[in-house]
Amino acid sequence: MAVNTEAIGKRWPAASFEVEAERIDQYAHAVGERNPVYHDPEAAKAAGFRDQVAPPMFCVVYSAPALGPAILDPEVGINLPAMVHGGQEFEWAEPVCAGDVITTVASCKEIYEKDGRGFYVFESVSTNQDSLETVRGTWTDIVRAV
């Protein structure tokens, strides 16, 4: 069975995420980020941030909700039980702070087959309430035995 490439170029509806200070705190603790700028608004402001700032990889928290519908879309046709997260790239721009509202749009960049495996590459672009880009993600999911 070959991969179906018809979904290449498809875009899914934007998903918004309100960044709460508690979510930043919870995430930073989970990944071991102890820098006070991630936990204390005053420390963050003293370091030049607008408010308590999120660690760069917090982008997975606010952009993942936009990726869900893409990965689950029957038009993409990913065989979920056989899927693994193969690769990930992020390019960061404007920092994300508590109180921000981040909007993410996901699209399908590539679908191809290599060595009997299916590669599904999605792009996510996230912007804040001032239309400043915060992160651009490239998500590569691999399906064994397509």
């Binding site: 995430y27 989970a30 990944v31 991630y38 700032v53 693994v84």
Partner: protein
Amino acid sequence: MSDLKHGDPLPELRVTPDAGLTKRYAEASGDPNPIHIDPEFAKSVGLPGVILHGLYSMAQVARAHTDALGDDPRALKRLSVQFRGMGFPEQEIVVTATVRDASNGRIVTDTEAAQGDNRIIRNASAELELD
């Protein structure tokens, strides 16, 4: 850090996720996949036990870089990784990074994360910008 040059290592990051980490990370990240939190489910799909979230391991690679550069999240501009071996709780993760290129205040590293001989993140590269 501004005198970093090709071939220089960044300080290693070592962290051992405890048995409860995957549950805390699942809650913090919003990833509900039971292969990370339910040992019985993980075994039912052929895994030896619960496995680490790849994006948790990627976060350790990110942290190794920001820690090395004055703990400033603004320094990290780009990070790309490939997830290969499965990571497991209660085993030490070692993140290593070597400067591939340093010029005009920008540093590019080659980096990976391993648990013993099991290289869980490979072919990874980070780009950093210094003030």
